[in-house]
Subunit: 340 residues, 2 copies
Amino acid sequence: MKNWIYKQCNNDDIVLSSMISLSRNLKEVPFSNKLTTIEARKNVELIYDIFKNEIIDEEIHLHQLWNEDKEISNSYVDKHLISKELIKNRDKTAFILNKEETISIMINEEDHLRLQCISAGLDLDEVFRSITKLDDKIERNAHYAFDENLGYLTTCPTDIGTGMRASVNMHLPALTFSDEIANFAKGLTQIGMTMRGIYEEGTKSYGNIYKISNQVTLGLTEEEIIGNLKGVVLNVISEEKKFREVLLSKCKYEIEDKIYRAYGTLKSAVLLGAKESIDLLSSVRLGVELSLLDIEKTKLNELLIITRDSSLQNYLGRKLSSKELNYERAKIIKIILKET
Amino acid sequence: MKNWIYKQCNNDDIVLSSMISLSRNLKEVPFSNKLTTIEARKNVELIYDIFKNEIIDEEIHLHQLWNEDKEISNSYVDKHLISKELIKNRDKTAFILNKEETISIMINEEDHLRLQCISAGLDLDEVFRSITKLDDKIERNAHYAFDENLGYLTTCPTDIGTGMRASVNMHLPALTFSDEIANFAKGLTQIGMTMRGIYEEGTKSYGNIYKISNQVTLGLTEEEIIGNLKGVVLNVISEEKKFREVLLSKCKYEIEDKIYRAYGTLKSAVLLGAKESIDLLSSVRLGVELSLLDIEKTKLNELLIITRDSSLQNYLGRKLSSKELNYERAKIIKIILKET
């Protein structure tokens, strides 16, 4: 697997990252929500001990959230390595991360273990291989809560069965401009999948990046879930490309205008809000994908992360006011774009 | 006098140009609106003959509007060298222009002659000296319609007396941002002056450039009119500078953001509307006046002219659709800014 932020993919790639997570619980320990703080922290120890048995062939690091600054933890959310939910119960939760930041194991989130593998681009097969290998290794060292009929037992009934969520983050500006996104989302719901903007506030979505994932975990094999998702993603890619061509043939100058203005603004602004930055970065990303701009996608990924409030504060090592955030965000964007 | 577009002034100068015009009629010829086309064209000949007597110590050129392409004539309006009214009666009107484009004599506009001198920056005294010299020379070669009690006789009663309009074009972004412009305009009306945006559409004004001029031509000497105007202009300059300091102390980053974004957009956009360009050029001009940007003001003046629809079409030598105009405008702005 490849770190999705810093490892170069194809520049015309519409898919940012592929991710699979598995929800697992230990047989002998009550579900996370039944654990006291002391018991939960003991459970973290117990699980971390399992991982010392060379389960991951790489340097790993345990993050005990109760011992870690909140901004640091949040910056891992920005990188899509842990969930917001994990941070909500900071005094009980932890996560294990490999050095390459492709594997993360959340501990005491909704379930005892949430194994997660993430890789750059459309790479579901490799991610599936990695997470299966990881899951098998753990199973050899621990007793999972498992039922012959139901499959893996989870705190929330909607996760029962495979306990698997597979998802792909995609950049879909043309489907968004053409107002086709809502139709796609509706269609996906009908086949047990879901699509949502990854930068949402209220009902508004920013940056044209969407996560498509399976909603159903029960009654299908893991391979079927992956196969269905891959089929849907390939279809969305081809639709997005079709709509890009339509847009370019109908309003080439308007699209180019949007792209070059966005790049100009990112390189010039003195103050930049989080939402505006993400929208501008989407236009620049489209410019790269259409070969109008020559910027490494890794720079754009980096900017997508570093310009989030929490990552920015973590990077600068201090809490910032809203105006300071906008000032520092504009500054760092200019610096990183100048390097290209 | 200095050509107001191409001759360098101080970069911190808030005044773009100073202009004085004198309305004059020939004693023997009926007022312009009484002339048939043939008589009007004869009047043009008559007046041009007077100018052959070395009235202007410089190469001069006669533009007969009925012989000239409309876009070419309009581009002189963009340069503030002739009035829109002159073009309305194209089959009867003409103008004489010196090579430096500081003196223009409109023929058969509202009056037989409208002598106009224009110079860069705040230069009312020099402009007044030049126009007086010009007026005296003409008077030695022609009989003006003049009444001992009323002064110079004009078609419109509001011009009677001195027949003089003195005006100054000023860049007032800070007074505009602070909504002080309306108060200033109201105050000026009470002392016989007027202020209006030079780029107006409906009630909206663009580009923060305003013309302040005298409204009263009767009952004051020419020197008094100039003196009053100069007093007002110096006061407006000091108020604008005061408000700029207030803005910079209260919202330095916001002002810088506006300026640098404007510059970035002008250098990047693929399509630019006329109004948007003028607003962006105003922000860039403010940047130059605040020493944030290092661009020659002459470039900004040039852009202010060339990006007007008519000048752009005249420059390219063909009629353009609205979208083509926006495309070509963006293109020429990028080229001229790249030269700096």
